[in-house]
């Protein structure tokens, strides 16, 4: 594959109707040309596609590969590329007809006025092609194309003949043809293939490419859209090779030696690095700093102005209050005092005083002086006054006063409680501060030791948590597994496995002791309220994963992790480490680098071609291509062993799949293992594995006796299907 020739030929009319047209109808490629020439005129992939044209709505047919850009005019979603082959047999003759149309058209047949293809046709097929396929093909050629006569031959045999004429192989040998979907081993005796000795295994180039494509797509799911069939074929053609000994090659890669590094191939996908922010130059930086300074300055000025404003306001207010107080003091008569009070808006002298103290406090704060804790003293001093009724015993009070007293008690307790809470918090704060300072001191004096301690503590905590998690999942897993595995257990909850978890064991214990009847013969569980507390206990045991209360160990772990992150440059968070191991690619929040866009072909380079030798890798339980040679020899029991030896000295490997480097060497070791000790063995690759089949067929069709091997429509009609089944050409026409 690879090369495509579809230029329309213009010399169709120059060929007389006796010149046969030679068609190599291959699983991957269709080749067509004139007999006697050394190369086919037209070659393309034998697939057809029927999309719908968007603007006109009609369904059109496209054959072979074309420029992908042109497909935008077609709706390609409902149809797909179809091949006329199923395995290596043509079954879909509509698609076959499209392919033939295209082939003949490009050969120039459209310029002829004959209304039919007036040339004998030699077409290749697989060995032992089912007669139905052969018949349908003959029908298609005769009835639709008006071909006068047709001959079918095996492509591998033509390739062998061609190489035999070139002197590469002898008259007796074996043709090993690695095709698209299948591989055949065909023994050749005196120039003729022996179908009774041939052997086919259903692996070919398609399987290798498909395997490569799938493995890469699964390994790099992020790049899966870029790994198309065509790209996979290209990678296979350029970088895959056959390992001379598969297990030892695997070992090279497993040990990750330098040799393995050299053998890896890296495919760099197109990638655009994110635009780098240019580092601002010196003056830029200076300018920005200056601007920031100015802004800061301005803000500071504004803040200072506001503060001074506030101070003056407060001072004014203080002044007003003070004058009020002094007025009140001066006023001797209560009426004057009340009138002053009424004017000022305050209800009592106390209020004015409290307002005064408040304002002076805020003034002091604004000025930046420490606040005097006069409040507390006044509070404690007046607590007795505030709650005057508390100390008086109940009997001496009226109902109203009682109510008042209750309210005061409540207020007192709440405020005292608040005070206590505040004190406790302050104490805790002080303790934590002290501890932090201690740790800081330790760290500063001996950083290494401190780090070691931290790391050890971290490891311990994480192990504890892991263990607990494992116990939990194991317990649940075991329980579930045993519960469902034990067919006898209907309930599933009383299996032995259920109780392996410590928490569940505890639960069981509680239940059984609670329900254990105390000898009265009756179940009295539930009569008392306290019995139901049991369920609370139980649920607390098993409920610890979905608590809102944070696990104290986990909290400690977080704290230690945070410290480590701060001080230890080599610390990797546990969660991050897990993430990196689990995904194929590093965690996304990190900036993408060129490496993320690389597809590395390491083991895959020789793993995929191995499918040819070990079809078990893709689930085909058949022999590999080296083994089928031995099978095909075994199917010829009548042959002398000397003949078999002669055959083994002339093994030709042809077909598109044989282009992998290292193939012959591997085949040799494989086949030698099946042959008697020290028997002769020689394996040669065909001169041109891809084209030789067509060339051999072309030489064959150009020989004079070719017309004796074809059959016409009358023959076909007269002699019937049985004859067609036994029809086989003689290959040695021109020896």
């Amino acid at each position: 594959m690879g090369e495509i020739r579809v230029a329309r030929q213009s010399d169709y009319d120059l060929f007389s109707p006796t010149t046969p047209i030679v068609i190599d109808n291959g699983g991957s490629t269709f080749r067509i040309g004139w007999a006697g020439e050394s190369d086919p005129r037209i070659m393309f992939r034998s697939v057809a596609f029927r999309p719908r044209h968007r603007s006109t709505g009609e369904t059109v047919t496209v054959v072979g590969e074309h420029d992908p850009a042109l497909f935008k005019y077609f709706d390609c979603t409902r149809s797909s590329w179809r091949s006329p082959f199923d395995n290596n047999v043509v079954y879909q003759f509509e698609i076959m007809e499209y392919v033939l149309d295209y082939g003949f058209d490009r050969l120039g047949a459209s310029s002829s006025m004959a209304g039919k293809v007036d040339h004998p046709i030699l077409m290749t097929e697989c060995i032992c092609n089912p007669v139905y396929s052969r018949a349908k093909m003959a029908e298609l050629l005769f009835e639709t194309y008006g071909v006068p006569s047709v001959a079918f031959g095996v492509d591998a045999a033509f390739s062998y003949k061609y190489n035999q004429n070139l002197g590469i192989c002898a008259e007796d040998g074996i043709a090993l043809s690695i095709g698209f979907m299948t591989t055949h081993s065909i023994p050749i005796l005196k120039g003729e293939p022996l179908p009774e000795g041939s052997c086919r295994t259903n692996v070919g180039g398609y399987h290798v490419t498909n395997y490569l494509k799938e493995v890469l797509s699964l390994k790099y799911p992020y790049h899966a859209p870029s790994i198309t069939w065509e790209k996979a074929e290209e990678l296979k053609r350029e970088h895959c090779y056959v390992a001379p000994d598969y297990p030892s090659e695997l070992q090279i890669f497993k040990k990750e030696t330098k040799e393995a590094e050299e053998k890896k191939w890296v495919w760099q996908l197109p990638w655009v690095p994110p635009p780098q922010e240019e580092l601002p130059s010196e003056e830029e930086l200076a300018r920005k700093a200056a601007i920031k300074e100015k802004q800061g300055q301005r803000l500071r000025e504004m803040a200072a102005a506001k503060r001074s404003q506030k101070i003056t306001d407060l001072e004014n207010e203080l002044h007003v209050l003070e004058t009020l107080l002094s007025q009140l003091d001066e006023a001797e008569l209560p009426e004057v005092a009340s009138s002053i009070l009424a004017r000022s808006g305050y209800l009592s002298r106390q209020e004015i005083e409290s307002a005064h103290s408040r304002v002076s406090q805020s003034l002091r704060k604004a000025r930046g002086e420490p606040a005097v804790t006069v409040e507390e003293n006044t509070d404690t001093a007046t607590s007795a006054d505030k709650y005057p009724l508390v100390s008086i015993p109940d009997e001496m009070l009226t109902p109203d006063q009682l109510k008042e007293k209750k309210r005061q008690i409540f207020l007192k307790t709440t405020s005292e409680g608040r005070l206590r809470a505040k004190q406790k918090r302050a104490e805790e704060e002080m303790m934590r501060e002290r501890q932090n300072q201690l740790e800081e001191g330790r760290r500063l004096e001996n950083p290494e030791l401190y780090l070691e301690e931290l790391r050890a503590k971290y490891k311990e905590l994480s192990e504890k948590i892991d263990q607990r998690k494992r116990l939990k999942t194991n317990g649940n897993g075991n329980g579930n597994g045993n519960g469902t595995g034990n067919g006898n257990n209907v309930s599933g909850g009383t299996g032995r496995g259920e109780r392996l978890n410590a928490a569940q064991r505890e639960r069981m214990r509680l239940l059984t002791t609670a329900l254990f009847d105390k000898g009265k013969g009756e179940d009295t569980f539930g009569l008392k309220d306290e019995d139901w507390q049991l369920y609370k206990l139980m649920s607390k045991d098993t409920d610890d994963d979905d608590d809102d209360v944070v696990d104290p160990d986990e909290a400690e772990l977080e704290r230690v992790a945070a410290k480590l992150q701060e001080f230890d440059p080599s610390f990797v968070g546990r969660a991050e480490a897990e993430l990196m191991q689990s995904t194929q690619e590093p965690p996304r929040p990190r900036a993408l680098t060129a490496e993320d866009y690389q597809v590395v072909l390491g083991v895959e380079r020789f793993r995929c071609p191995e499918v040819l030798f070990q079809p078990g890798m893709i689930g085909e339980y058949q022999a590999g291509i080296d083994e089928i040679v031995s099978h095909s020899l075994r199917r010829l029991p009548n042959l002398d062993s000397s003949i078999k030896d002669r055959m083994c000295q002339s093994i030709i490997v042809t077909g598109g799949g044989s282009l992998l480097p290292g193939l012959e060497q591997r085949l040799e070791t494989g086949i030698r293992a099946t042959r008697p000790y020290l028997s002769p063995l020689k394996i040669v690759r065909a001169v041109d594995s891809v084209m030789d089949a067509w060339r051999g067929a072309s030489v064959y069709a150009a020989s004079e006796l070719f017309s004796t091997q074809t059959f016409s429509l009358e023959d076909y009609n007269e002699k019937g299907e049985d004859w067609l089944k036994r029809y086989n050409i003689v290959y040695s026409l021109y020896d």
Binding site: S55, V60, T61, V62, V63, H66, D67, L70, Y73, D86, Q92, Y98, D101, F104, D105, A109, S110, S112, M113, G115, K116, I127, C128, P130, V131, Y132, E143, T144, Y145, G146, H184, P195, E196, S198, C199, R200, N202, Y211, E214, V215, L218, K219, L250, F253, Q581, S582, E604, R607, Q614, G616, M617, I618, G619, Y621, Q622, A623, G624, E627, I628, H631
Partner: protein
């Protein structure tokens, strides 16, 4: 048809002068065309190889028997030799690090790996 499509001649013309019967006449528009092509399996069944003499080669005869070498087990993910199988997903793996990756695979990846080995359970 757009100009570049016409220029590239990628579309088959509906009438070919070298054909006796054109595609349009053979396959009427609107009729389903794919349904009556027998697939290989049906072809072979119809062929009825059992009634034929056994020593004559036919398509099924020449098929290769199973390999005489026992199949080696390779890791589904890395390709190395795999002595172990994950009981939950039935994937083969080579060593504990790969096992971690196996356990973290999303389900459709698991099915695709198994399908690659022809071991996926297809539930229709």
């Amino acid at each position: 048809m757009e100009a570049d499509v016409v220029r590239s001649e990628m579309v088959l013309p509906p009438v070919m002068p070298f054909k006796r019967v054109q595609m349009g006449d053979k396959y009427q528009k609107g009729q389903s065309r794919g349904r009556y092509w027998k697939h290989l399996k049906q072809l072979l069944q119809a062929e009825n190889f059992i009634s034929l003499p056994l020593d004559e080669p036919n398509y099924l005869n020449i098929e290769s028997p199973p390999s005489m070498y026992p199949s080696k087990k390779y890791c589904d993910i890395t390709g190395f030799e795999a002595p172990y199988v994950d009981p939950r997903t039935k994937l083969r793996y080579a060593d504990p690090e790969v096992f971690k990756r196996v356990r973290n695979l999303p389900n459709d990846h698991v099915q695709r790996y198994l399908a690659l080995r022809n071991a996926a359970v297809i539930i229709r």
